[in-house]
């Protein structure tokens, strides 16, 4: 019966989300302005927060009870949900971050509330499903619904074409990568069959046991799908565009959930990677390279949310690297630590955006001083992101780096470079937000450039931010060996590499130096890094534009094909018409002519009949008549004449007989 917990965990937010969306449609069609009565809005937010809190509770229960549930979905593939150590660690973390983000979102008053919160809850349900999926069909359901919900959330303000197209970019980019999961499912089915039985049932746990080459295909599919969601190279660009979404959306999608799920999938399927060495090596290197390349991008950004977005891809690079080198414990620690840290950073960036109407770093100069608690929490998170000792991400990152070092010196070196870059871009942000006047001026240069600022940061948001700050600090406890070992046991990893004191000192020293240097002077951006290495332009040039051109070509061809069919039909009709004309002109004429000829013949015959034939007949009749009369002439009645005639006849007969006889 424990499976009911899991169904509730996924089902409650999904159901409430759907109901809210229905409500949103009803309100919109009732012609109500988006800003409906405060009471109605209060009911919506109460429902949302209650649901989110309940979800946290259910997540904790699920982490403890470890329920499992499965039912048949398609032939040869079940629909399975379950909680193991890895998901037991991540479920409460994800549900907790979601709750805190929602608290801030409520404080930010995003309108229309019902649609926004409905979509967020649906999204959260999809994430929880992804986390608990034990089979490919279940994973795909969570995975792709998450992508679709991100489309609706990023393009939430739908009047703005730039935002909606950013949503489309996110959905399509991640979906192209998702095709890998379909391939993996096909490979699993094929492999299960060749192994002599369909026992695998498309379960994730059975993938490592697939026979080669199906295991290789499955591994490749999983890796591509995960890299797409985790915004790793070469898919990173969708993350940059996604920053046009509302800030709480960025805080949720790009900290603990969507992007993180890419890293999670690789950690979950690490045994497949371990069984497929080339895939593991590839994964590790893509992670390391992304950590470096996107770290450089983050250094070059002059927009706070863009900086955070690039750093998200870079930090996920460490998780991907961890999965590649088989360090599930280190990877999951880093994933959780980064989730809380980055959610906090994004939420604060959003609050500042709402207050000042900008997220440009130069326009934000000094903002940390004006709302002190918020500024302090932002700084704490930024220092954590920098990997400064003894903060959380320093601990977790070193864990990953130690594992990388065991694999390859080059991987370790790349990881160290990425760690230095983390310190650098965190310093860029910290330097910007503290480097201004102590008191907020009435109006600053560059404010209100993106929206009208409220000049107000809601105090209600602070407790939630503080809770996230605590979450960001939690990985520090991993410095206690017993805690670290307990976590390893939880995620089922054994013999993870523990970084030595020297390694930790090196990374701490490098981070401190880099942080200090950048605080003094921000280096000029590397050429191309400000534009994210033109990854999106490259995707447009190599995929989007050729496909669009191909589509136009196909359309033209299709119209020509249709024209050909019509032309064939016309030709057929023309042939028929010609045949008809031929029929009229030749056959019919011939027939008519024949008929005429026949008529003429008949007439001629008739004439002939009258003139010649009839005359002949008459002549014949006349001659018959005269012959008759001639015949009558001998009948004289006189016997001697009869006798003379008979004698003549006899004589003639005798002569004939004499002549004819031989």
């Amino acid at each position: 019966m424990s499976g009911a917990w899991l169904l509730a965990l996924v089902g409650v937010p999904a159901l409430v989300g759907t109901v809210l969306l229905g409500l949103a449609v009803r309100r919109a069609s009732a012609g109500a302005t988006p800003d409906v009565g405060a009471r109605a809005r209060g009911r919506v937010t109460a429902a949302v927060l209650t649901t989110a809190a309940l979800t946290v509770l259910l997540a904790v229960v699920a982490a403890v009870v470890r329920p499992e549930v499965a039912w048949s979905f398609v032939p040869g593939g079940g629909f399975g949900l379950g909680v193991d150590g890895l998901s037991a660690l991540l479920l409460p973390a994800v549900a907790g971050v979601a709750l805190l983000v929602l608290v801030v979102a409520v404080a930010e008053r995003i309108r229309p509330a019902a649609r926004f919160h409905g979509l967020i809850l649906l999204f959260v349900a999809a994430v929880l499903l992804t986390l608990t999926a034990t089979t490919l069909p279940a994973l795909l359901l969570g995975w792709e619904v998450m992508g679709a919900a991100s489309w609706a959330l990023i393009g939430f303000h739908w009047r703005d074409q730039a935002r909606t197209s950013a949503g489309v970019t996110a959905f399509l980019t991640t979906r192209s990568a998702d095709l890998g999961l379909y391939v993996a499912a096909g490979a699993a089915a094929a492999g299960a069959a060749t192994d002599g039985g369909a026992g695998a049932g498309l379960s994730l746990a059975a993938l490592p046991a697939l026979p080669s080459p199906w295991r290789d295909v499955a591994a490749a599919g999983l890796v591509v799908a995960a890299l797409g969601k985790a915004a790793q190279l070469p898919f990173s660009f969708w993350l940059s565009r996604a920053m046009l979404g509302p800030s709480p959306v960025s805080a949720l999608l790009h900290s603990a959930t969507m992007v993180a799920m890419g890293g999670y999938l690789l950690l979950r399927t690490e045994p497949v990677l371990a069984a497929t060495p080339w895939a593991a090596t590839l994964t590790a290197w893509v992670g390391a390279l992304t950590a470096v390349a996107l770290g450089v991008v983050a250094m070059a950004q002059r927009d706070l949310k863009q900086l955070l977005a690039a750093s998200t891809a870079a930090q996920l690079g460490f998780v991907v690297l961890a999965a590649g080198v088989g360090d599930v414990a280190g990877g999951s620690e880093h994933l959780v630590g980064h989730a809380a840290t980055k959610a906090l950073l994004f939420l604060v960036a959003g609050l500042w955006l709402t207050a000042l109407g900008t997220k440009r770093l130069d326009a934000l100069a000094g903002v940390a001083r004006w709302w002190r608690p918020v500024g302090a929490l932002f700084t704490l998170a930024a220092l954590t992101l920098a990997g400064l000792p003894p903060l959380g991400l320093w601990v977790t990152k070193d864990h990953v780096l130690a594992a990388a070092a065991e694999h390859s010196g080059w991987l370790y070196a790349a990881g160290l470079v990425a760690a230095v870059l983390s310190a650098g871009y965190a310093a860029v942000a910290v330097r910007a937000v503290w480097g201004g006047p102590t008191d907020r001026p009435k109006h600053g240069a560059g404010w209100d450039t993106e929206e009208r600022g409220t000049r107000h940061v809601p105090a209600r948001a602070v407790p939630a931010l503080a809770a996230l700050g605590v979450g960001a600090l939690l990985p520090v406890t991993l410095l206690v060996p017993r805690v670290a070992h307990a976590l390893e046991r939880l995620v089922g990893a054994s013999g993870s590499s523990i970084p030595g004191a020297a390694e930790m000192a090196v990374s701490a020293g490098l981070a401190l130096v880099a942080f200090g240097l950048v605080l003094r002077r921000v280096p000029p951006p590397v050429l191309g890094a400000a534009r994210w290495w033109s990854l999106e332009a490259a995707a447009h040039a190599t995929v989007v534009r050729p496909v669009a051109a191909l589509a136009r070509l196909a359309d033209r061809f299709d119209r020509r094909l249709d024209a050909t069919v019509i032309a064939t039909a016309r030709a057929t009709r023309a042939v028929a018409a010609a045949a008809g004309r031929f029929d009229v002109s030749v056959f019919d004429a011939a027939v008519v002519a024949t008929a005429r000829a026949t008529g003429a013949g008949a007439a001629a015959t008739g004439r002939f009949d009258l003139s010649a034939f009839d005359a002949a007949v008459r002549r014949l009749a006349r001659s018959v008549g005269s012959a008759g009369r001639a015949v009558l002439r001998p009948q004289t009645g006189q016997v001697h004449q009869y006798l003379g005639a008979a004698a003549t006849l006899l004589a003639a007969g005798a002569v004939l007989l004499a002549v004819v006889r031989p």
């Binding site: 969306l21 949103a24 449609v25 919109a28 069609s29 039912w71 048949s72 979905f73 398609v74 032939p75 040869g76 593939g77 069909p137 795909l140 359901l141 995975w143 792709e144 619904v145 679709a148 489309w151 393009g155 739908w158 009047r159 074409q161 909606t164 197209s165 489309v168 959905f171 399509l172 979906r175 192209s176 095709l179 379909y182 391939v183 499912a185 096909g186 490979a187 699993a188 089915a189 094929a190 299960a192 069959a193 060749t194 002599g196 369909a198 498309l202 295909v217 496909v547 669009a548 191909l550 589509a551 136009r552 196909a554 359309d555 299709d558 094909l561 249709d562 069919v565 019509i566 039909a569």
Partner: protein
């Protein structure tokens, strides 16, 4: 009971024609007939037990032309039942949609009810001549619907549809006669022919299959025989399009599974690669051309070419007989039948929704709209769900179908993986269509665009709800289909 279900709509049609009711009464009678028919079918379904291999449930047989081996033979199995259900559901939806129709209602209703009988008859026919008869009559009825109630260039489109598909039906007839002549004793009875084919008799070679395939390919339609479809859809009334895409196109793919595969297994196996490639081309080409469309109805029409291409791909892959892929190929067949059901529901709903555009603004050009999300939120929500379903989002029926088709086909041959690009293209085209019409600035025809009315909502909404239900709990449907898929794979041998 089965015959009652098949012919009940025809009786309704007769009443509409000869009773000459007022439009109001005609609409009510039309709707009532379809609802009663659906209820009867549901009762039948409740009593359905999977017949043994090669067997039929609710079979009825009466001699018709005994001298030629033709009989009135109907019955249902795991392929027929889902198609009958989706047919009846769509006809109910159309009758609901037509509650606001005012143009020559009695005749329109009679035509639709007659059309319903031909569809139901086709999906339960167990005799080739009976099959052919319903196949042809459906073309005639649809021709009348498009020519009589369409718009724009509808007479020409209707004629093109009629001539093209009629040509296909002639090819089909030639193939059927080939089967008849190849059978010993001569018969048109499908189960008898299946039994002969199973017994090792070769009923016909490549030419017979070729004729049948040509006929079915035109009806499905697959590339390059699809050009009648976009104009027919564009100029047909909304309910005509819904039935054309939702039911009539399925007659082609139904024929593959009912006639071509089980009756000509040897020829099918040797043609499997060609069929698979045609399916693959239809998937990719249909999606690409759809991507380039600016007219919503043309776009959806081309996505039908894409979606039915998956079915053709799956039946082609099923013919690639190899010893250890039987289970996978069976998944592909189950997916193909699921796709036929799912596409009926989703595209039926989408075509009904597309009809709203013409109804309100007299155009299907997407760029005439924009920002409809404000003026028509219910329409926006429904279209969004329909689009997501059509692009194969998990949780909706399209995914269940396509996931099985991909899994099974890829396991049979890696070439099938190329078709995966299709679901990416459909995602791109549906999202871009959605944004053109519903978000951004208002277009010239956005002002005063009325949201969905009650009947419109009641017609299209349940179709999408059914798609959602099948997407989340496909078990019961797949349970019905599975034994049939098994029998097809067994029939193909190997």
């Amino acid at each position: 009971m089965l015959s009652t279900i098949i012919f009940l709509p025809l009786v309704g049609a007769a009443v509409l024609v000869f009773g000459r009711p007022a439009p109001r009464a005609a609409r009510a009678l039309w709707l009532a007939t379809t609802v009663v028919d659906l209820v009867l079918l549901l009762v039948l379904t409740a009593g359905y037990r999977t017949p043994g291999p090669g067997g039929l449930a609710f079979a009825e047989r009466t001699a018709w032309i005994p001298s030629a081996g033709v009989s009135y033979h109907v019955g249902v199995d795991g392929l027929s039942l889902p198609m009958l259900l989706v047919t009846d559901v769509l006809f109910v939806a159309c009758a609901v949609w037509a509650l606001r129709e005012s143009d020559r209602v009695p005749r329109l209703g009679a035509l639709f009810l007659a059309l319903q009988t031909t569809c139901l008859g086709l999906f339960s026919a167990q005799d080739l001549i009976l099959f052919f008869l319903f196949f042809d009559l459906s073309i005639v009825a649809m021709y009348a619907v498009i020519a009589g109630w369409g718009h724009a260039d509808h007479r020409r489109s209707a004629l093109q549809f009629f001539l093209y598909t009629f040509l296909g039906s002639l090819a089909l007839l030639v193939g059927f006669i080939g089967l008849y002549l190849g059978a010993d004793p001569h018969t048109f009875d499908i189960p008898a022919l299946v039994a002969q084919a199973q017994g090792g008799a070769t009923l016909g070679g490549g030419l017979v299959l070729g004729a049948i395939l040509l006929g079915l390919a035109i009806k499905t339609p697959v590339v390059p025989f699809h050009t009648w479809l976009p104009p027919a859809h564009t100029d047909a009334p909304a309910i005509g399009s819904a039935i054309l895409a939702g039911v009539l196109l399925k007659m082609g793919t139904y024929g593959f599974l009912r006639v071509a595969m089980p009756l000509l297994p040897d020829a099918w196996r040797s043609w499997a690669w060609a069929i698979l490639v045609v399916g693959l081309v239809s998937v990719l080409y249909g999606a690409l051309v759809a991507l380039a469309q600016t007219n919503l109805k043309r776009m959806i029409a081309y996505t039908s070419v894409n979606h039915l291409g998956y079915v053709v791909l799956a039946v082609g892959a099923a013919g690639l007989v190899a010893p250890d892929t039987a289970a996978a190929r069976q998944i592909a067949i189950t997916g193909a039948v699921t796709q036929m059901v799912s596409h009926g529901l989703i595209t039926g709903a989408l075509f009904l929704l597309a009809g709203t555009l013409y109804d309100r603004a007299g155009t299907y050009e997407m760029d005439r709209f924009g920002g409809l999300a404000r003026t028509a939120p219910r329409y926006t929500a429904l279209f969004a769900v329909g689009a997501l379903a059509s692009l194969g989002l998990p949780g909706l029926s399209g995914f269940v179908a396509e996931f099985q088709i991909f899994t099974g086909s890829i396991a049979a041959t890696w070439v099938a993986a190329l078709a995966l690009a299709g679901i990416l293209l459909t995602a791109a085209l549906f999202l871009s269509a959605f944004h053109r019409m519903f978000t951004g600035r208002d277009g010239p025809d956005t002002r005063g665009f009325a949201d969905l009315t009650g009947p419109e909502l009641a017609a299209a909404g349940p179709l999408l709800v059914l798609s959602l239900a099948l997407g989340l709990v496909p078990g019961p449907l797949l349970g019905v289909i599975r034994p049939f898929a098994e029998s097809v794979i067994t029939a193909l041998g190997g």
